[in-house]
Amino acid sequence: MIKTRDIKFDYDNQVFFEFPDIEIKNRENLLIIGNSGIGKTTLLHLLAGLLESKSGSIELFGKEISNLNSYQLDTFRGENIGIVFQRSHFVNSLTVKENLELAQFIANKKDNNRINTILKSLGILDKSDKNTNQLSQGEKQRASIALAIVNSPKLILADEPTSSLDDENCDRVIKLLKKQASEFNAQLIVITHDNRLKKHFKKSIKL
């Protein structure tokens, strides 16, 4: 259950954002669509607890995250939210597998089987001991999805996951994300300007 009400945000009192309320039930996915500069990334950061809203409420799985302090927010995020960024980020000194182990360590969940299950399901099990900068673009995107879901989050947030992809790959990636989300019992919120994704979601909001 994800519910937001009257979220407002501004950058130094200069750029003001007001976001429409969001409400999705368990097992529902959501597409948030909007043009550049409208505050898509800001909304994603607010939902992920990376930014603090100036007013309004954000309730994730029964918890009002604006009431959490910085440390609690970090812990909450580690346990419940996985983020797929527009560009893949990794800890470059570590291999794919070590990145996933680090994510598990941070969330205090050690489970080697899960790492293998995820890598297998994403088709990159053979890359697990590769350094992340040895991966191809497609493999990187899969690895970053693995990183987002390794700790069994209840919510996966994806920021423009398809914007730079051709139609074929766009289809492939969004299907992969949805498949992973349902396979591992997570809800998916995709924030994008990419209209091609509309057909993949029953529920969408326009900013």
Partner: protein
């Protein structure tokens, strides 16, 4: 995986980033630790050999030379003194005990000392195999010498004249090894010991007439310039080179040998222990002012020597601290740049649920891992340095040093390394702590 492992991986993945700071730190720590080790080892060596010696009496000359030759057996003697003069000092009521020393010959660079039994007790040296020297030309050999030159009981040693191997060999009079000493960790380990009589006999066989030899010596030798047989013994010791070769070619003058058995014998130096430590102030001065002998106080001369070295050591130490400071600064710049390069990584780790402080700890770990390994490698370098210096000393002075211990001061160096690590990482750690992850991620 954990934060500590992550820090190690981060360092290993970009080894070139930190190599300069690490090298500087190793250099700085290495120099200081080497100086500390050498200072302590040399001091221990020197003090070990000083025990029980309050004063050394010998011929006039440099007091430091007298100490270095009579106590440490590393310099040339200042000259000889007559047995009567020595006797007079021994009879003084302030003198507790005394040991005569005669030296001026060597076997393969190791010095042969003619002395009394008490000499072994002074250094707590014990016979391991065989017996003490007794008859003339019987010798007891120090631990370092027999293990190095592979000398066994009953071997015969041909001594050479002077203090270097290149001296004229005393072919006619070999020494016989009757005893081997246990290692005593003192100067005895590198000496070959015999009776005073052996040395007297050894040199009685040659006479000489080239009086000009005396001229390299100190002025107080003039009085010895009668042509007694024992006389040349004196000279052998004084000339450091081989100029005395020709005198051996002259015929022996054995006739007057017996007449001079008493009276005109000479010794090289005498080690004195006082009855009361109070005498150390007054008695040496009395000897130096009122007799043609020289008295030197080892502890005083050695501390004077250390003071002379002290200035150089201090300068070098400050230089080393400066290098450590620069290494800390270089480490800080590394970390600072590295954090900027890795800001997306940091943001990622935060989005995975890591707290601000976990990231700061990671930065501090990276810094500490570097400085502590710098410390350990620095110690390693200093031990290699000690080995190197030891081999140099072994070659020229027969002394060697070995160090397996960590000195207390070196624990301070560990503390200093940790401190440098903490200070260098302080600003980068704060920077990471305050990082705005949303801004970094929105920036992509």
């Amino acid at each position: 995986m954990n934060i500590f492992k992550l820090s190690i991986k981060n360092i290993i993945s970009k080894p070139l980033n930190s190599i300069l700071s690490l090298a500087l730190l190793i250099l700085g720590i290495g120099i200081i630790s080497l100086l500390l080790q050498l200072n302590s080892l040399i001091k221990t060596q020197m003090d070990n050999n000083l025990k029980g010696i309050d004063m050394v009496v010998g011929a006039k000359g440099s007091p430091l030379q007298l100490i270095l030759s009579a106590v440490y057996h590393i310099d040339s003697p200042t000259g000889n003194i007559s047995v009567e003069d020595a006797e007079e000092i021994k009879n003084n009521r302030m003198v507790g005990s005394s040991i005569d020393l005669l030296y001026g010959d060597n076997y393969k660079g190791y010095r042969i000392v003619g002395t009394e039994d008490k000499f072994l007790d002074l250094y707590n040296a014990k016979i391991k195999d065989g017996k003490k020297w007794n008859a003339p030309f019987e010798v007891v050999v120090g631990a370092k010498i027999y293990s190095k030159l592979n000398i066994n009981l009953n071997d015969e040693l041909i001594s050479s004249h002077g203090l270097r191997e290149t001296g004229e060999a005393h072919v006619n009079q070999p020494f016989k090894v009757v005893g081997l000493l246990e290692p005593s960790n003192s100067v005895v380990d590198q000496l070959i010991i015999t009776s005073p009589q052996s040395i007297w006999d050894l040199h009685e066989e040659h006479d000489h007439d080239d009086e000009n030899q005396e001229e390299h010596d100190n002025e107080d030798h003039d009085e010895h310039e009668h042509d007694h047989d024992d006389e040349d013994h004196d000279e052998h010791e004084n000339d450091h080179d081989d100029e005395d070769h020709d005198e051996h070619e002259h015929d022996h003058d054995d006739e007057d040998h017996d007449e001079h058995e008493h009276g005109d014998k000479e010794i090289t130096a005498m080690l004195i222990k006082f009855k009361s430590p109070m005498n150390i102030i007054q008695f040496p001065r009395q000897i130096n002012e009122n007799t043609n002998l020289q008295a030197a106080v080892p502890s005083y001369e050695i501390s004077r020597l250390f003071k002379l070295f002290g200035f150089g050591i201090e300068t070098l130490t400050y230089l080393a601290y400066l290098i450590i400071l620069v290494s800390g600064f270089s480490l800080f710049i590394n970390l600072f740049n590295s954090m900027r390069e890795r800001k997306y990584e940091m943001a990622l780790i935060r989005t995975l649920g890591a707290s601000r402080s976990q990231l700061s700890v990671m930065v501090i770990f990276e810094s500490l891992i570097l400085t502590i390994s710098g410390f350990l490698l620095g110690l390693l370098v200093s031990r290699l340095g000690v080995m190197f210096v030891s081999s140099l000393m072994e070659e020229s002075l027969n002394y060697s040093l070995s160090s397996l211990y960590i000195l207390n001061e070196e624990f301070w160096l560990l503390g200093l390394s940790i401190l440098i690590g903490l200070i260098s990482s302080l600003i980068p750690a704060i920077q990471v702590y305050k990082m705005n992850i949303s801004e970094i991620l929105a920036d992509e």
